[in-house]
């Protein structure tokens, strides 16, 4: 069955106990309306729950008992011991069924028609004599007798009658008929004169489940939680005091208190935790209904039902989740015939998955349906005037998809009963963001859509970063804080201004900034941080700052980089303290309208502190529409993705202009004493780790000198090492390299790195200079850059490193190849499926997801490219690698930074291929 059963058993056992007592009371006070009402309600609940859980036997018994109770309640049947006994008998039956249910997880086989017949007889007010006599006869007759009274019941009873083992009521006392006949209403049936006792009658047992769990009012739990929160605060205060004292007798007990409180907090939190499956319980039914309504075949797969999260959070996501699953089934999945036409299985699948990830719960809703229809969304955007056609033309599919989160957006052409009213996704998004969560969408047309919801585990106690602005302290919920940036006078990047609006260059992105002191009108000196903007920028803000005396204090500021949903912005604060666990308390009602605060709390030292609401700040400082900013971020992300960064070592040698080399190629950095350099055969050598390392000056025109120290970049491959002497190591940076000018003689080309024109050196060139053996496998063949025919040879380059792609593509293009560069082997295989044809494939070996070896295997297994020669590209070539490469189908192996041999190998490979043809 399902998880609800134990809960149902617990609940029903309780209700039954209550009913027993109430019924006895009722017997004594037959006119107690309130009592009757209560009994009726309890019975009704049992009936309802049984019906919901699909327990027909229980439901039927409860239903008929309820009917009788209903007549009691309406006052047209007098409460007599006979009837009470009858009801009690029904309760016993229910109890017996429950025990069996608990034991076997299923309702036992059996028939209750006799009991039901009795109940019905009372309900119908049938003459007792008739029904009794009939009911005592064998089954079939009993059923027939009742059928006159209630045709409906008959149908039910008959259906069961065949498979039935006769069971009679376990207890029943005969009651004199005369007594009963005193009742004004048609006399009830007396109980059967003969009571059969069957051994196989359900045995009533104490419920084990009921004994183990306890139902506690949510309010009690909430109260507990509040008190624990207070306790946590007090504990924090005590610890704070303790910290200021060197030696204290309280240290040990306080530490214990600390642990106990932490455990208590955890324990109480646990009581609030509920499996997410609770929120999903309705979904199978919804899916079933949708599949019936729309004639779709839908399979709902749920994983991680046991993932627990705070009740409060659970309540808040229930509706959005239901909505989204409904959407997936309705909008996402196609009709069976469409699916078959699209080459998919007839049955559409909606996957629901929940799991923990770093203090968050991730919920995924995935369907394998048609995906979002980008074109239709575009039309809708235009028809709703959400963007201009030019803007839309510039957008990627991802960006366009984000529009489904806008209010009033529905792409369903027809509004079905299920969805398509356009009130959905924006509400979903708002609800999720309200609890500090975020929602992401990925959709591939024809393949399906995936929504990923990320929500915090709990809302009651949050970790917050304490900051100071203008002498006042504030708390910022840690969940929203992405990173902290310190800016001092010496910092390279300053806060810049555009018409008075501060912004900051955070890596590759322009980060909008909010100065808290300006926003809140608190005194604070920001001027020194600002770059010298155009003089016309003399805004009010700056004027104001002229009057603020510059303090001599540490002149540094911090930017708290904050993320709201997917919108990233920075909050400028004066100081940052540590983080503290805080309990969010609501602000006084007269302060509710200040949207930059989400609450307030008491810190460990006893002071009251306001909790900043970054969403409110974002709202207060600009007309920020989170859905738009999400697109911005999407755009940002994509830019980053496209221009993946490479770690570069920046150094100086010879000239002033910086030079760069990919850090991955450098094995070590050493400082050598120049007087240790030995010379042999015109080459510089140094004893290095027990072997001789050839040294090369980066700039051969300058003498290396004989005194002092110089940094050396050590390149190693296999057992060979070479050192490159440089003048100064500048920095290691993560940058995207875009070679703009190609160079020669040791320089691959120039790129802008850290804002300066930088030469990216060709390591291969240097390595070859020291040792022609370095690339002995494929170093000497002449390469023929022309003569490849008028048709450009098509080269497919697969390398996960953007640097190498960027480096090799221009190189290969210059050599006359038509190059297609791809980031992953999977992309390449997709291209293979699409029927693209290449003359040669160059692939990296070390790649995430699928290595070059696997890729080669797949290519050779496939049809389209199995005859295309493949060249392996690697930065670390060991003999094993080479042989493995050969085994899987790489015809050549090239060190990554050796461009000459790459070109040679290419032309060689191509000519081999042509000769073969």
């Amino acid at each position: 069955m399902d998880d609800l059963i134990p809960e149902f058993i617990t609940e029903t056992q309780e209700s039954l106990g209550e009913l027993d007592v109430d019924l006895i009371n009722l017997e004594q006070n037959p006119n107690d309306k309130e009592l009757l009402g209560n009994i009726f309600r309890l019975m009704h609940t049992i009936k309802g729950t049984c019906g919901f859980l699909g327990l027909p036997r229980l439901e039927k018994v409860a239903h008929h008992a309820e009917n009788v109770l209903g007549r009691f309640r309406d006052g047209d049947l007098k409460v007599t011991p006979v009837y009470v006994t009858l009801i009690l008998e029904s309760l016993d039956r229910v109890r017996g069924l429950l025990s069996a249910l608990e034991e076997n997880g299923a309702e036992p086989e059996g028939d209750d028609s006799e009991l039901i017949a009795k109940l019905d007889a009372v309900y119908e007010g049938k003459d007792e004599a008739e029904s009794v006599s009939e009911s005592e006869s064998e089954d079939g007759d009993a059923v027939m007798a009742v059928s006159e009274a209630e045709a409906e019941v008959v149908a039910e009873a008959e259906a069961e009658a065949e498979s039935v083992v006769e069971e009679s009521s376990p207890v029943e006392e005969p009651v004199p008929v005369e007594k009963i006949q005193e009742a004004k209403v048609p006399p009830p049936p007396p109980p059967p004169a003969v009571v059969e006792h069957h051994d196989d009658a359900p045995v009533v047992k104490e419920s084990a489940v009921a004994a183990q769990s306890l139902r506690v009012n949510v309010e009690v739990l909430e109260g507990l939680m509040t008190m624990v929160s207070e306790l946590v605060l007090t504990r924090n205060q005590l610890l704070q005091i303790l910290r200021t004292q060197q030696e204290s007798d309280f240290t040990a007990p306080l530490q214990r208190l600390n642990h106990v409180v932490s455990d208590l907090q955890e324990g109480v939190m646990k009581t609030r935790m509920q499996p997410i499956g609770n929120a999903w319980a309705k979904l199978p039914r919804i899916i079933r209904d949708i599949s019936l309504d729309l004639g779709k075949k839908i399979d709902l797969v749920m994983n991680g039902q046991d993932t627990e999260l705070d009740r409060q959070v659970l309540e808040l996501i229930k509706d959005p989740l239901t909505h989204m699953v409904r959407n997936s089934a309705d909008h996402g999945l196609e009709m069976p015939q469409e699916r078959i036409a699209a080459g998919k299985s007839e049955i559409g699948t909606v996957h629901l998955n929940a799991y923990h990830e770093g203090g968050h719960i991730i919920i995924e809703i995935k369907d394998d349906g048609r995906g979002l229809n980008t074109e239709r969304i575009k039309e809708k955007i235009l028809s709703n005037n959400l963007a201009t056609s030019e803007e839309v033309a510039d957008m990627t599919a991802q960006q366009i998809h984000q529009y489904i989160f806008k209010a009033g957006f529905s792409t369903a052409e027809v509004v079905t009963a299920v969805s398509g009213r356009g009130v959905g996704m924006d509400v979903v998004r708002t609800n999720i963001e309200k609890i500090g969560g975020s929602i992401e969408l990925r959709s591939i047309e024809g393949k399906g859509s995936t929504f990923q919801i990320k929500i915090p585990l709990t809302l009651a106690i949050v970790s917050a970063l304490i900051v100071e602005v203008g002498g006042e302290r504030f708390a910022i919920p840690q969940l929203t804080v992405k990173e902290l940036v310190m800016i001092s006078e010496k910092s390279e990047n300053k806060i810049e201004k555009i018409k008075g609006t501060p912004v900051y260059r955070l890596r590759n992105q322009l980060l909008p900034l909010v100065s808290l002191s300006d926003l809140m009108g608190l005194p604070s000196d920001n001027s020194f941080l600002m770059g010298d903007g155009p003089s016309s920028d003399n805004t009010e803000l700056e004027k104001k700052q002229d009057f603020i005396r510059v303090s001599d204090e540490a002149r540094a500021k911090y930017i708290v980089v904050t993320q709201i949903g997917s919108y990233l912005f920075g909050i400028i604060v004066d100081r940052v303290f540590d983080t503290e666990e805080i309990v969010v308390k609501p602000v006084a009602s007269i302060l509710k309208s200040i949207e930059i605060f989400s609450g307030n709390t008491i810190l460990g030292d006893g002071t009251v502190i306001m909790i900043l609401d970054p969403a409110g700040i974002a709202k207060a400082t600009g007309k920020i529409d989170t859905s738009e900013s999400a697109e911005d971020e999407e755009r940002g992300k994509r830019v980053v993705r496209r221009s993946q960064t490479t770690s570069l070592l920046l150094f100086r040698a010879g000239t002033e202009s910086p030079k760069a080399v990919p850090l991955a190629l450098v094995s070590r950095l050493e400082n050598i004493y120049l007087d240790k350099i030995e010379r042999s055969n015109g080459k510089m050598l140094i004893q290095y780790r027990g072997q001789l390392m050839p040294l090369l000056p980066m700039d051969s025109t300058n003498a290396v000198g004989t005194e002092g120290q110089k940094p050396v970049l050590v390149f190693a491959e296999d057992t060979k090492v070479t050192g490159l002497i440089v003048d100064e190591i500048i920095d290691i940076v993560e940058e995207h390299i875009d070679l703009q000018v190609s160079g020669q003689g040791g320089v691959l080309g120039s790129a802008i790195i850290s804002g300066k024109a930088t030469d990216v050196i060709d390591v291969g060139y240097f390595l070859r200079t020291t040792d022609t053996d370095w690339f002995k496998n494929h170093g000497d063949e002449p390469y023929d850059s022309v003569g490849l025919g008028s048709d450009k040879r098509r080269v497919l380059l697969v390398d996960d490193s953007a640097f190498f792609r960027n480096m090799l593509v221009p190189l290969l293009e210059m050599a006359g190849y038509d190059v297609t560069a791809l980031e992953s082997a999977r992309d390449a295989l997709n291209m293979s499926e699409d029927g693209e044809v290449f003359d040669v494939i160059i692939s990296d070996i070390e790649m995430p997801e699928m290595s070059g070896f696997e890729f080669a295997e797949k290519v050779k297994e496939g049809q389209n490219w199995k005859n295309t020669p493949m060249v392996a590209l690697t930065s670390h070539a060991t003999q094993q690698d080479v042989s493995r490469g050969a085994a899987v189908g790489f015809s050549k192996y090239i060190a990554k930074f050796d461009r000459e041999s790459l070109l040679n190998t290419l032309s060689e490979t191509l000519s081999e291929k042509e000769n073969a043809l």
Binding site: T234, I590, L591, S593, I594, T601, T607, V608, M610
Partner: protein
């Protein structure tokens, strides 16, 4: 003028109650030399100077928030609410903590006096000509022997404070 019954708080903190006809008890406070009364049942606590956390962007009447035995209390400057000048030296700041809508507010005033039991016959409605700012937050006047006592309407005083919406 009938006789007024003064209620002294004795050393044990108990009030000495003398019953003399229909009367109401008020805690007297002074703001800018004017005597005010707050119904004693509304008073939760009387505090001396407290460290108050400022709340930026709050209405001008709100001085900040403070911690009273683990509960957060919003401090309201009554002088400002009444349109009076603030005293430069705030050394003698006293405040009266009242509850409004299940939230605690501390009313910052100049000084706290005694608890008086005032008889209904000395009560007068607020004069129509009173400064509007004052009229809004007072629920009547009691004629004392030597001076007049203005009854502060606490719910009105707090409820009328609206957050500045300018952001």
């Amino acid at each position: 003028m009938s006789q007024l019954e003064e209620f002294e708080i004795d050393s044990t903190g108990n009030r000495v109650v003398v019953d003399s006809g229909p009367a109401k008890e008020f805690l007297t406070i002074t703001i800018a030399n004017q005597l005010f009364g707050i119904p004693v049942l509304q008073v939760q606590d009387v505090l001396g100077q407290q460290s108050v956390t400022k709340i930026p962007m709050s209405p001008p009447e709100v001085d900040g928030a403070l911690n009273l035995r683990g509960r957060i209390v919003t401090a309201i400057n009554v002088r400002r609410r009444l349109g009076l000048k603030l005293i430069e030296e705030k050394k003698t700041d006293m405040s009266v903590v009242v509850e409004h809508d299940n939230e605690l507010y501390s009313l910052i005033i100049d000084s706290v006096g005694d608890v008086l039991s005032l008889q209904d016959k000395d009560y007068e409605p607020t004069p129509a000509t009173l400064d509007k700012m004052w009229k809004d937050v007072s629920s009547g006047i009691y004629r004392l022997e030597s001076q007049l006592l203005v009854v502060l309407n606490v719910p009105e005083l707090i409820g009328s404070i609206k957050s500045a919406k300018k952001i």
